[in-house]
Symmetry: C2
Subunit: 199 residues, 2 copies
């Protein structure tokens, strides 16, 4: 056969990314095979290679797009939050939760398929993740310097907070009991105040 009536490179490429997100999220990168991906898009396995160079690069592109968006949007949220340390911290938390609710598949893949990347690609993604973690560590240190936090260890505290806030990806469903806003509020309070009553 040959080129299909109405076929468009841009549309097909987007469809491949969407289907790949779903399949990798469901089965994992190693378990997803390109024949199944091609079938999900509605093209032949060979046609995939008109839109990507290798399976590895497909994964890397997905991760890179996600990390770039995460860093950009975070900086935008912080810029909008103004200079007050606590407001900035809350802005970070709020954005993190909302982003992770919206793009749970991307996040899940970026977090758990790092080992599927080749060393060079992995290094780049890990670098961007470190940059993201550095944002939170900086915010914590600023707030602590302003006397607002009791901080045991900024780095470990940041890791623990990120783990908690990222946890929403594992169980959230859009049709769930709690709204995104409610989840933001709940996680913000948990991170800042814990569960203990304050009397």
């Amino acid at each position: 056969m040959a080129r299909i009536t109405g076929s468009s490179g841009e549309r097909t490429a987007a469809a491949i990314r969407q289907a790949a997100l779903r399949l990798i999220h469901e089965q994992g990168f190693a378990a997803m095979n390109l024949r199944e991906l091609a079938a999900a898009v509605g093209i032949s396995p060979a046609s995939l290679y008109n839109h990507m160079t290798t399976k590895q690069s497909l994964l890397f592109d997905l991760m890179l797009e996600h990390m770039t968006a995460l860093l950009e949007q975070t900086d935008a949220a912080l810029a909008a939050a103004g200079p007050e340390p606590l407001a900035r911290l809350e802005a970070f938390i709020g954005h993190h939760v909302l982003y992770h609710l919206e793009r749970k598949r991307e996040v899940y893949i970026a977090n758990f398929e790092l080992r599927a990347l080749n060393p060079a690609n992995a290094m780049q993604i890990v670098g961007m993740r470190h940059e993201y973690e550095a944002r939170l560590i900086g915010l914590l240190k600023d707030a602590a310097a302003a006397g607002l936090l009791r901080l045991g260890d900024a780095r470990i505290t940041a890791f623990a907070m990120l783990a908690m806030l990222t946890g929403v990806c594992t169980w959230y469903r859009p049709d769930g009991r709690l709204s995104p806003a409610e989840l933001v509020a709940l996680h913000t309070r948990l991170a800042l105040e814990g569960v203990l009553r304050r009397d």
Copy 2:
């Protein structure tokens, strides 16, 4: 060739489990192939089947052993903690962190390779995980009923706490800067009191 001098079924089976833990943790279940596993143990691929029925059952056995131990040890820790709600909650947290530091590979596998299990096996492991989550939800509700906690939503709070406490698995190394006891203390305070100063 044939049976090796000094070979023992029990020892080989244990070596397979250990090597499988390492390889699955490093590469993921789907990416680990049995030839590499056999080489790590020092036997031929065919010999693996003297100690397991299928690759799938190997994964399931690892997960089942871990979940069983986790539930048993948790109950033991709670029994030792006595009746006071806050003491019980702290005992749960402390045990969870210590267990996850000690057995980070098992935990990682049980958490992130669920999708590699066939439906029947997955159901059993998910059931045990729900049981574990129910322990924490119960502790939170007890403490809240005693007026000790300010609880937005017991279920979501439990998920968030577990995500935070389980996070240690992703970055902990035995030769790291902080001792297990310090990590327990830090995470306990984070979970109970958050980061905000109390004045």
